[in-house]
């Protein structure tokens, strides 16, 4: 079977699952989630087959025949395209999708709208696969928006919680800002392309041949990147991502760690030619990525919410990837994608592990947590693997992908690699903090019992194995080789340095953040501590600086830096409007209203009157026609 050529089956399977589940509705809540999971599993296996075949035969396949509609002479075509990048992404999306669904079988077991949840996940998987397989930018944009919609639906899944509602709206609006940029970019590109084609292959050729003028390319690249910023949570459009943690944890793992946020990176990678053609754009990408990476890491350091730590970590890691992409070499592309791959794996693992903790302990404030190790030993192990992988410890996948990043960044310049090393150190620190606070020490919650939960355990195990196994050097190298030529080579000193940085970070954090061993009875008498000291600082002044970077601060910045001035400007304009323009418009308006009122007299809503009017109209028309003829 030619799996590559029938890759369209993957989104179709998910779509089928979505349709069936949503149509059956809550009636089938006993078995539709399981069915949906099985379909996702089949899709994942299919995607793996596609990937393996693509890898072995190095074949790429494009089919874009189906003409959806024609606007003037411009055809809007649908189709799909399989090549190494997309095959790889397809595997990630479907794999994690399937695992998350399996996980959610248990996590969402008692939810009233379980089937809806699974339907949404299926729709999301479908859209994401559609996005990945898109052969042209228009189709990509359509799925891009669908993905955004699914994200909105899933963040706001528990819409009875005000915070969830708020977060969903925020995520939707902020990503929409990015999307507007992307759309404008598409318009510009459409205008600039010689044959108005938005097919990626045509864009590739056009940019390679230099058909498009330099400044247009820069503009397009920046606008595309703006879209990617929105989706991938780059500063300053990142604030929605931590808030999106109000959604169910499996969703955080699937959408806000592994797949959707990676769409931005994917978009940049897919249109990398455009970026390569513009050094300005590359520089901006690198700067924004670096800033995001640092800010995200610092912010993660001071969060109390376990999921928010992971969310900021995601922001930070995505920033790293963007920064790497900003280096503008083929190796950079490969390195960024490899990191995307490994990150998807271990970040999903971390989220799922965190979800398991939350599901068991019903608490996600790390200051209130502790000693979970005793309850969930296996989960602790999985989290540790994920954390170490994220930090970049030696045998784990994160290490290898980070090494690739460092190598690329080193070629870009010392400043980049230094930043990256700082980020690496910070990463090690916040992950250590989170781990120590959550898993070590004394368990404070009473009556916590962990049940053996196979649907939750299997994805954790699978992802943990993935987080270790992807890093297996021969395999990792071959992965890189599949993605493209020029897998970067890291100098030994850099390896050593980076490892040192990580170890140092862990050590510092372990020193500062001691596991809390507290007698439960004394804690119990002081439940209000949380209120007295609302923010638990990482360490004295450093943390105070770091706290500037939290979401609240960014909201403040938005409010004072953007909203307030804009409001002031608006107020001024309003004054102008009230005095000068109003005088002019009032008259016109009054006239219009008067005419409207007069006309609305005729609009009585009664058959008879309309009929009489029509009749008179026909009579007049007849008279006119006859008179013309005579």
């Amino acid at each position: 079977m030619d799996f590559v050529a029938s890759a369209w089956m993957v989104p179709m399977l998910s779509l089928l699952a979505f349709g069936v589940v949503i149509m059956i509705g809550e009636r089938g809540k006993a078995w539709t989630p399981i069915g949906s999971t099985i379909v996702s599993g089949v899709a994942a296996i299919f995607a793996c087959c596609v990937w393996v075949q693509q890898w072995q035969e190095r074949s790429s396949y494009t089919w874009a025949e189906w003409r959806w509609l024609t606007m003037g002479d411009w055809p809007v075509q649908f189709g799909y395209e399989v090549q190494s990048l997309t095959a790889c992404m397809l595997v990630i999306v479907t794999m994690i999708g399937a695992l998350v669904q399996l996980y959610a079988l248990s996590y969402m077991r008692d939810d009233g709208r379980k089937t809806t949840f699974f339907a949404y996940i299926s729709l999301f998987t479908c859209s994401m696969c559609g996005l990945v397989l898109s052969p042209n930018l228009l189709q990509l944009f359509i799925f891009w928006e669908l993905v955004g919609l699914c994200s909105f639906l899933l963040i706001g899944f528990w819409f009875t919680k005000p915070a969830a509602r708020e977060a969903a709206r925020k995520a939707f609006l902020l990503t929409r800002i990015g999307d507007v940029g992307l759309l404008i970019g598409l318009f510009v590109l459409y205008h600039a392309m010689p044959n108005n084609s938005l097919a990626l292959i045509d864009v590739h050729n056009a940019v390679q041949n230099g058909v498009i003028p330099e400044h247009t390319v820069t503009l397009v690249a920046l606008l595309l990147f703006f879209g990617a910023m929105g989706k991938s949570g780059q500063v300053p459009l990142h604030t929605w991502l931590p808030d999106a943690m109000e959604g169910p944890t499996p969703i955080s793992a699937l959408i806000h760690a592994a797949t959707m946020v990676a769409a931005g990176v994917f978009l940049v990678s897919r249109t990398y030619d455009v970026f390569l053609a513009s050094s300005t754009a590359l520089l901006i990408v690198a700067i924004i990525g670096a800033v995001t990476a640092v800010l995200g890491a610092v912010a993660a350091l001071v969060q109390r919410d376990l999921k928010r730590i992971l969310a900021y970590s995601t922001v930070s890691q995505l920033g790293l990837m963007m920064c790497t992409l900003g280096m503008g070499t083929q190796a950079a592309l490969i390195a960024a994608l490899l990191h995307l791959l490994t990150h998807a794996c271990f970040k999903a693992l971390l989220f799922l592990a965190a979800g398991r903790v939350i599901h068991t302990v019903h608490q996600q404030d790390i200051e209130e947590l502790g000693g979970v190790r005793n309850v969930l030993p296996w989960t602790t192990g999985a989290f540790a693997i994920g954390a170490l992988a994220l930090a970049g410890m030696v045998p784990l996948s994160g290490f290898w992908s980070k090494e690739a990043l460092f190598a690329v960044l080193l070629q870009g310049g010392a400043v980049w690699v230094t930043t990256a090393l700082c980020v690496s150190a910070l990463t090690a620190m916040y992950m250590t903090r989170a781990f120590v606070r959550v898993f070590l020490g004394t368990l404070r919650q009473k009556n916590v019992r962990a049940s053996r939960d196979i649907p939750m355990g299997v994805p954790l195990g699978a992802l943990a194995v993935g987080a270790i196994a992807i890093g297996w050097p021969p395999m990792f190298a071959r992965l890189g080789a599949q993605l493209g030529e020029g897998y970067p080579h890291t100098p030994a000193w850099l390896v050593a340095t980076s490892l040192g940085v990580v170890v140092m970070g862990i050590a510092v954090a372990a020193y500062v953040v001691r596991p809390r061993v507290i007698v439960a009875s004394t804690r119990a008498r002081q439940p209000s501590r949380k209120k007295v000291v609302p923010q638990r600082r990482f360490s004295g002044t450093g943390a105070r600086v770091a706290s500037i970077l939290r979401v609240a601060v960014w909201d403040w910045v938005y409010r004072n830096g953007v909203v307030r001035p804009f409001q002031a400007f608006s107020r001024g304009m309003a004054q102008l409007d009230q005095t000068l323009v109003r005088a002019c418009t009032e008259g016109i308006g009054t006239c219009t209203v008067l005419i409207g009122k007069l006309a609305s007299r005729a609009h009585v809503g009664q058959l008879h009157v309309y009929g009489i009017w029509s009749l008179w109209g026909i009579v007049a028309l007849l008279c006119f026609v006859l008179w013309k003829k005579v």
């Binding site: 609305s600 609009h603 009585v604 809503g605 009664q606 058959l607």
Partner: protein, 108 residues
């Protein structure tokens, strides 16, 4: 023979206008419905008159009238059902009161 044709056609026109007048002035929904029927009948008469005196060789006109009859039967079925539903649910038996399209009424 021309005159025969004219007579039929003029009768049809008269009926059509009478039906039209009824539609525009009568207020009972059922009567309005029936006025539309009168108009349809006028059309049918017209078509048949042409079928006979129009110099056609086949009976296409008859087929058309059959279609008119079918459509008007459907119209009556749905119309009467709508009428009953109106009377039942809103107590409306007057076309003039069916003015939910009116801007001011809509807010009520």
């Amino acid at each position: 023979m021309t005159q025969t044709m004219t007579a039929y056609v003029l009768l049809a026109a008269l009926l059509f206008v009478l039906g039209l007048y009824g539609v525009l002035t009568r207020r009972e929904p059922i009567v309005v419905l029936l006025c539309v029927e009168v108009m349809l009948q006028a059309v049918a008469l017209n078509v048949l008159a042409f079928a006979k005196y129009g110099g056609f060789e086949d009976v296409t006109g008859h087929v058309f009238v059959l279609f008119i009859l079918a459509v008007s039967a459907a119209e009556v079925a749905v119309g009467v059902a709508v009428f009953l539903a109106l009377v039942r649910q809103r107590g409306v038996d007057d076309v003039v009161k069916l003015d939910t399209l009116h801007a001011e009424r809509q807010e009520e």
